[in-house]
Symmetry: D3
Subunit: 172 residues, 6 copies
């Protein structure tokens, strides 16, 4: 097992994807913004009056996925055919009394390389945007659980995150 | 308590910072990339031979902080005077058998608005870059604990994250 | 009277604003997207259920104003302190049976140069975004009346567009 | 008839173009910058001595078309094969005593989605650039008539704007 | 012989590559940063302790190649499949007592247009980055010999720079 | 003497300019594109009919200077007050039978950091743009002599490149 993005001296090295097959590729990712229940109520109230908080975060996530190769240096420039960003407000407080917003993203491409970093980037920037819009109300928010949920297409086969198997006992 | 980035109808609204005082502002943030211990060993090996994994992630974090206002829609364009990104490899496995890389960022500005979103953005994109460079070895990595550690300058006073007080009992 | 952005040979030339006074500057601009009344009904329906069409256009306008110096070659990079984008749905059909959406933008800066191009850019890109989101329903939309409404701050004094005086008899 | 860029709840939604046919697509658009006849004379004089005003506007339009997916949130990233921007100085004053510059743009793509927004973006930013370069001479300029002239390729068939039929009697 | 990027009036004109064949294309380029031998020693010392100077320059070169169409106005947007940037420290002083760092870049694409400008852009920006990181130590550095080494794929056939034949007697 | 952009371990580190004095800073840089005399004739012919080759290169240089902090990772974001790019066609063949175009750039800022990298970036990208527009006619062009001519403002004092003293005997 070795890192594909560095050479034998450890120097950064872009993977040449030019010989890879063009296939339909999809990746789904998720992430969470934890906040005080009172903060979630503000977002919920904004959502109830159909305000813009989640709409702005969606656009930010979509635009970030498009810019992924400018943000993550060894990513290839891609022409994504689809980017989706969805939210769920989870107000049942967790054990430590926090509420959270769940973000789920999906990216698709007909191309030569996987798009999971694009999906993760969309989730991360959507989370940062929620944070930005709520920060005056709650300085203690935190972003957790940015991970790949599913990946298909390409040589490495289908990958499906199995929460039970993989992080059983995990605190996160 | 209300959201400062939406108006009374809930619509997105940029805060006018033009009348705020120009002060020296600083924010520090952190984040973590969790991975299998074997994956951390690859990064550690890369770091031992002074390879580029963490160096690339540092540059990605710095460049992302500069681009923050292009990523997070209601952020103001800023001229940061300093952006720092540091890493720590924490190979003592956690309860669920995972190792992790800690990222700490710092942004400074002489200006009219806080820079915590810039610091969080630097941490997020540095984390995504580590993820990208290690993803062939470990699909199950996840990014956790992106939060503000400290913020100073401006009207809202000094903020220092107190892990003990705030997330005692927290699963994260 | 001459062009300030070209030299005596007619070559492009950036104006050196380094010696200008730093003042509080503001510019307001407007623009219109004309469409079939049935198309406006779709936007109105989207707005009634508090959908995202106008919210997305607002964010697009805000982000474009920030990027103005990358789009318009002789514009200076600026740190806008405020960008606002508002919409009005005007469904009373005009003489030729068309409905329209009015866009009004506002940009503010403490700086050395006016911000009317930034306000116009916000209006233009908000209009393009509405066009994009409605284009499957109406290919014949058109964008009209992108102009400066008011400008203040700086040496050139206060400017207020006087529709009656200036375009009396104008077809637009 | 419905909006393709929003879902049934009215939320923004990118169209997945991944299953669409790859065809040769072309779109042409136009737009106008209205100005005082004396302002047009300055541009004409600049053009006569082969100055840069229109050349700068052409480059701005070309570069903006390439950046379209960064400006208009639900646009797909594309690899345009051609972008053209042409100008005509129309100094015969209109009924209200104004002269104007006509802009015509053309974008081409072998791809899965139409390029009319790219052509409109090129026209809009070329117009903004002319405005910027002439604004010191004429604050009352305005941009009008940004529309699609022709679109070909793709499922929706050939579209040709018919000025006589569509806006007969139109004030614009 | 004529310029392909201007029309018969000399106006800028993007080449329409839409009808060109999609082939595997590659270009290699080189460039040099000349500096005082003492400055090269600082870089060498940084490299010996496996510091970041060359690693940062590599990432800057890779990112610049991806952005080439935003920098060079008539370049087409491309999806490069590979970008490589390598360095050699050449400390044997030249006739005028200077040392230098050699940069060699490589870009690959499956596409309709050559990638030599992308390779030259990577070399140029890598050189600028080295300059930036060393400028406090040596104001007199200079960048030389940015040229295409080899180009393959496409109609124009294989091109290989022949230093002996072409610049025999050249001062550079 | 040491590198200011790396720490004691050699890791990349942005200089904190927040405490530096705000002064009026200016930098001038130059660069050359060498080409066959026949190629220069094409550019000259284009310039004679007042074509766009040099105009496009000027705009490319100006836009690149604005984007410098996105290209060169440890550069600070800046608000340049002026960017100028000038050209001279030098058709007297050099010893090795080559003609050349000279590029001179100037950047100005009221700020806390020098702008020589911005001036060098403008020269480099203007050179790349000339290269791009002439490459179909001349594959053997090369870019030489990118250097700082003069720098003023800031603590490091006035710097003026002295060609005679510094590169006496230099081949370049």
């Amino acid at each position: 097992m070795s890192l594909t993005h560095t050479d034998h001296e450890g120097k950064a090295s872009m993977v040449d994807v030019g010989q890879k097959e063009i296939t339909r590729r999809e990746a789904r990712a998720e992430g969470y913004v934890y906040m005080a229940p009172a903060t979630l109520l503000l977002v919920k109230d904004n959502a109830l009056k159909k305000g813009d908080v989640l709409g702005v975060a969606r656009i930010a996530g979509i635009q970030a996925a498009k810019q992924c190769s400018q943000l993550v240096p060894l990513c290839h420039p891609l022409m994504l055919s689809y980017i989706g960003v969805e939210f769920a407000l989870e107000d049942a407080p967790s054990a430590d009394g926090q509420a959270r917003i769940r973000i789920e993203t999906c990216c698709r491409l007909n191309g030569q390389t996987g798009v999971e970093i694009e999906a993760l980037t969309a989730a991360s920037v959507a989370a940062l945007t929620i944070f930005d819009m709520c920060k005056a109300a709650d300085k203690k928010m935190h972003i957790e659980g940015i991970r790949v949920l599913e990946k298909s297409g390409g040589n490495s086969g289908h990958y499906l995150f199995d929460a039970g198997a993989d992080v059983a006992g995990s605190a996160v």
